[in-house]
């Protein structure tokens, strides 16, 4: 099998390598346009020169996944600007806060939105060369900007390619947002660093027809998107490999993909590790092999600890305390729980941060607890948090408190008193969730506090 031969140190290294070795090979496709590696490098160099002359130092990119979006990121990197990748669908006020926090002095993206945000622009940075900031929305805390570099991202792409290589004949469909590290590395860099063509998805409105339009052989998706593509029967016959990340994938989806002759691999990683550190390559898709540059150990309580010198973040932007809390002596404490099987493969078993610690010292493991509540109530849009020191059920949808209590009665009687639901909050608001569907625990807690 063809294997990615080069470990790239920077975007410039990657682009220049293929511009010389396979200049005419297609690098990027977007709508009706195809750019060869030579044309891509030339375009990026030209734009980098313009950015250098502009005299700015920190570019905020309002990501839309377009060809120009990719070129702008690469060009800003070549020009030595700090790059901040922003989710353009966020509220303007939120974006302004993120822009101020990260010292952005130049914006790229939708013109109208850039105008609206321009008042938030800052004075820039002095030492931003090579840095690329991704926002991570942990399920229990405020979003933080993770400082990665073009080097760490390229190394991460190599790391994944070493386990799951693409060939220059492949077309990788990039459907995920570039502002998320999984989308950036596994939707874009994975393909380019293997010399393959990357077809850039044309946005959510084309989820139904992008596979038919681009005829990809590989795609990176989150489980929700895989379910959608399978259910709507919009997968092309040439598609042979699906890389799933950023969430649990139900077995039924695997079976449906397998029936179409598609190989499904899971990737496990975090923004802080520049994306994947373990990936499944054969047999059981839930059993993942650790990538070559990474060392994974388990703490006594099962927490997954990662050493990834080539791919590790520099830290959280301007938040040294938050960095020290999770990155100690080069070891990243993930907050995820796992186990190794007899073959040394990693299985993810849960999330440590999904634990409520009660005043009596007992703990509630939320996924398990909420699953039992969902079963008892026949309703999935619910979550548990603390109000004061007691568990509160947040029930999103229409419901009657007394009837819900009745339904919960049998389950509650099986639990210690301290773990029983003390109250029910019925709301017509949706639960706050991340892009991958995880409940934003911190935000939920805030909403409950605000209503109390």
């Amino acid at each position: 099998m063809w294997r990615c031969p080069v470990r790239f140190d920077s975007f410039e290294h990657l682009l220049s390598h293929f511009a010389l070795s396979t200049p005419d090979a297609p690098a990027l496709r977007y709508e009706g346009t195809t750019l060869s590696f030579a044309a891509l490098f030339q375009t990026v160099q030209k734009r980098a020169e313009e950015l250098r002359k502009g005299g700015k130092s920190c570019l905020g990119v309002l990501c839309d996944g377009s060809l120009e979006n990719v070129i702008e990121i690469f060009a800003a990197s070549l020009a030595g600007l700090q790059i901040v990748l922003l989710d353009a669908s966020l509220e303007a006020d939120v974006l302004k806060t993120l822009i101020r926090y990260t010292d952005v002095d130049l914006l790229w993206g939708d013109e109208e939105l850039c105008d609206e945000l321009s008042l938030a622009l800052m004075a820039g940075v002095k030492d931003g060369r090579g840095k690329i900031l991704f926002f991570t929305s942990g399920t229990t805390e405020r979003a933080k900007a993770v400082v990665l570099t073009d080097r760490s991202l390229c190394q991460s792409a190599w790391n994944g390619s070493a386990k799951l290589p693409l060939s220059p004949d492949d077309t990788l469909l990039c459907l995920l947002p570039l502002g998320h590290v999984f989308g950036f590395v596994c939707g874009l860099l994975w393909g380019l660093s293997c010399g393959a063509c990357v077809a850039l998805g044309r946005g959510a409105r084309h989820y139904l027809d992008d596979c038919d339009f681009y005829r990809p052989t590989a795609v990176s998706v989150v489980p929700l998107l895989l379910g959608f593509l399978l259910k709507q029967k919009c997968i092309n016959p040439e598609l042979k490999l699906v890389l799933v990340g950023a969430g649990d994938c139900p077995p039924a989806l695997l079976q449906a993909a397998g029936a179409l002759g598609i190989r499904v691999s899971f990737g496990y990683g975090l923004t802080e590790t520049s994306s994947g550190v373990a990936i499944s390559v054969s047999g059981d898709p839930y059993a993942m092999e650790v990538c070559p540059d990474d060392t994974i150990t388990l703490a006594e309580d099962g927490e997954i600890l990662i050493e990834a010198p080539s791919c590790m973040m520099q830290g959280y932007y301007k938040r040294p305390d938050a960095t020290r809390a999770v990155l100690r002596h080069g070891v990243f404490h993930t907050g995820d729980l796992g186990r190794f099987d007899e073959e040394g493969k990693l299985h993810i078993t849960g999330r440590k941060k999904d634990i409520l610690v009660l005043p009596d010292g007992t703990k509630i493991f939320l996924p398990e607890y909420e699953s039992a509540l969902m079963q008892a109530l026949g309703h999935t849009e619910l979550a548990v948090t603390l109000r004061g020191e007691r568990p509160l059920l947040v029930y999103s949808g229409e419901g009657d408190r007394e009837k819900l209590r009745e339904k919960l009665g049998e389950l509650m009687r099986t639990l210690p008193r301290g773990q029983q639901i003390a109250d029910i909050l019925i709301t017509d608001e949706p639960l706050p969730r991340t892009a991958t569907g995880k409940i934003k625990r911190w935000e939920l807690q805030q909403k409950v506090s605000d209503k109390t």
């Binding site: 669908s89 939708d110 929700l224 379910g227 959608f228």
Partner: protein, 81 residues
């Protein structure tokens, strides 16, 4: 095309995509863009079908701000040619 006609056709698209929702008798203030009604991918499907039906284009940035059936109808009416 009147607003009422847009409303009725929008409801029809939703019911076609999600037959279970016929039982809910959707009103203008019904919250539809939520996992208790239509999940995020389902909402993508509905918007795509509505854009094709009415020949309009609602910027993706606006999609998640459309919470109720009335919001969706407003977004379409605003862009009708």
């Amino acid at each position: 095309m009147t607003r009422q006609e847009v409303l009725e056709q929008t409801k029809k698209v939703i019911y076609d995509c999600f037959p279970d929702m016929k039982e809910l008798d959707l009103q203008e203030d019904s919250v539809i863009n939520t996992d208790t009604a239509i999940d995020s991918m389902g909402f993508v499907l509905v918007i795509c079908k509505l854009e094709a039906l009415f020949d309009v284009r609602i910027p993706e940035r606006q999609w998640q701000k459309l919470q109720t059936l009335g919001d969706v109808v407003d977004a379409i009416c605003k862009r009708l040619k």
